[in-house]
Symmetry: C2
Subunit: 252 residues, 2 copies
DNA sequence: GTCTATAAGATGATAGAC
DNA sequence: GTCTATCATCTTATAGAC
């Protein structure tokens, strides 16, 4: 089955179409406290392993990647992977956690900025504006943040759809951001019930997941008219779609 | 890593909440022409293997399942799996294709029935009615069609989000149904562009994928208020969400 | 920190008896 | 059709030299 590794489904069109909203660029994503590094030359090795693992896991999943492949891709020896990260599962978790904090911190900061920009107590907020603030950062990073962020976006998408891995991690890092988003949605739709908000978010979450995965499904379905890599357009449509969807689900 | 096999993320609440719409029950899903069966006792074996593989693949993905696990789950010998299906990949494809035809045929039949029920040329169709017809069957089968259909729904969801496997198969069996759906949407929203329709569908597709996977994410996020297994409610909300989303994306 | 060597076991697949 | 036995390879992981 290693023969099917030859054709990854990643599309090639990642044209950096500029979007209207200013998005904070992500940090270089180096952990502050390296785990077992004793001198500084090892930090490069550690990052190489993380980057290689990030790319491979995002494309083939946890079971679809071997330590050997990670080591070869990173250009290091197999034993070093274990030296730095212990088990394969610990490597996966390290990859997942590496960018999780900045990812969610920026999304929360963006919606809080939007909340403050509007009049006090959020008067004048719209669902479109709120979702624009919350959704644009990951799309923008995936487009212009380098291959690492694109891979990470796909990894998050895949993990969200398959909580056998990262279920706890996913909840720990991502749920607080989502709860903050729903708090602000509740200010815009005060009569919405919690159940409505959670199910509405669930619909948006699925759309976000599938899109960030850039699986190429829409390219094929549309005969090339739409491109998975056109994340700018994807985000534009998603904001409209989700805002209207939330209003429809939460009115009653 | 086989130790993490112990806790599958499948929720336990699958209360068969009755829904208003009548849904055609799926056929027992036995292929008409068995591949290598010479006498009739082997057909049970073959189906046992397919059922076991269906459940395991849907939970752990292609690489996360071994032939040995499939054989043990099916209560047969490892060699029989190869005898009936050849390679592991062929087994996966056989699982995927087994229910694909009835799955999509029924969805297309449902929207065609709805189209005919309305006045000639589909006058009086609504997006809500159309999506209700298109979405309810898989939800209903997953709820009341037995564990096989629930597993298959999760398998489709997972495959849709990861076309490294089944990309061709997915397009071959599922895209025609989706194109027919969009044809009828176009009758309701005649001014919509193709690009808008495809992106709008993409949002719905992601929501459908995540929901049918029953990953348990919404249970955790909502603190137990919403349940992944409550597919009746999930479908109700999805119809509203998607109808409003399509209208918003396609108006311009 | 990095490498070689190797353990200890699992994996997909097949040959051949019954 | 079904089973036993087995191959050849790959897997994660570790011990120990440098």
């Amino acid at each position: 089955m290693t023969s099917s590794r030859s054709a990854p489904p990643m599309p090639d069109d990642t044209s950096p179409k500029p979007t209207a909203t200013a998005v904070v660029e992500p940090k270089p994503a180096r952990r502050g406290r390296p785990k077992k590094v004793k001198d500084d030359s090892g930090s490069d090795t550690r990052d190489s392993i993380l980057n290689a693992a990030e790319g491979l896991f995002s494309q083939h999943g946890f079971y679809g990647v071997t330590i050997r492949e990670v080591a070869r891709e990173a250009g290091v020896d197999t034993a070093l992977v274990h030296y730095y990260f212990g088990s394969k599962k610990e490597l996966f978790d390290a990859v997942f956690i590496r960018r999780a904090e900045v990812w969610n911190a920026e999304r929360v900061a963006a919606i809080n900025r939007y909340h403050e920009t509007c009049a006090q107590d959020g008067e004048g907020m719209t669902l479109e504006g709120l979702f624009e603030a919350f959704l644009r950062p990951p799309f923008q990073w995936s487009l212009t943040g380098g291959p690492g962020w694109k891979h990470y976006a796909a990894l998050v998408a895949q993990t969200n759809a398959n909580p056998a891995f990262g279920g706890e991690t996913m909840a720990r890092y991502f749920d607080p951001a989502i709860r903050r988003l729903l708090e602000l949605v509740r200010e815009i739709l005060p009569e919405a019930t919690d159940t409505q908000l959670y199910w509405a978010w669930h619909n948006l979450s699925g759309a976000l997941t599938l899109t960030l995965g850039e699986t190429g499904r829409i390219d094929r379905l549309s005969g090339g008219l739409c491109k998975s890599g056109d994340l700018g357009a994807a985000c534009d449509h998603m904001v409209k779609f989700a805002a209207a969807g939330f209003r429809a689900v939460c009115q009653n």
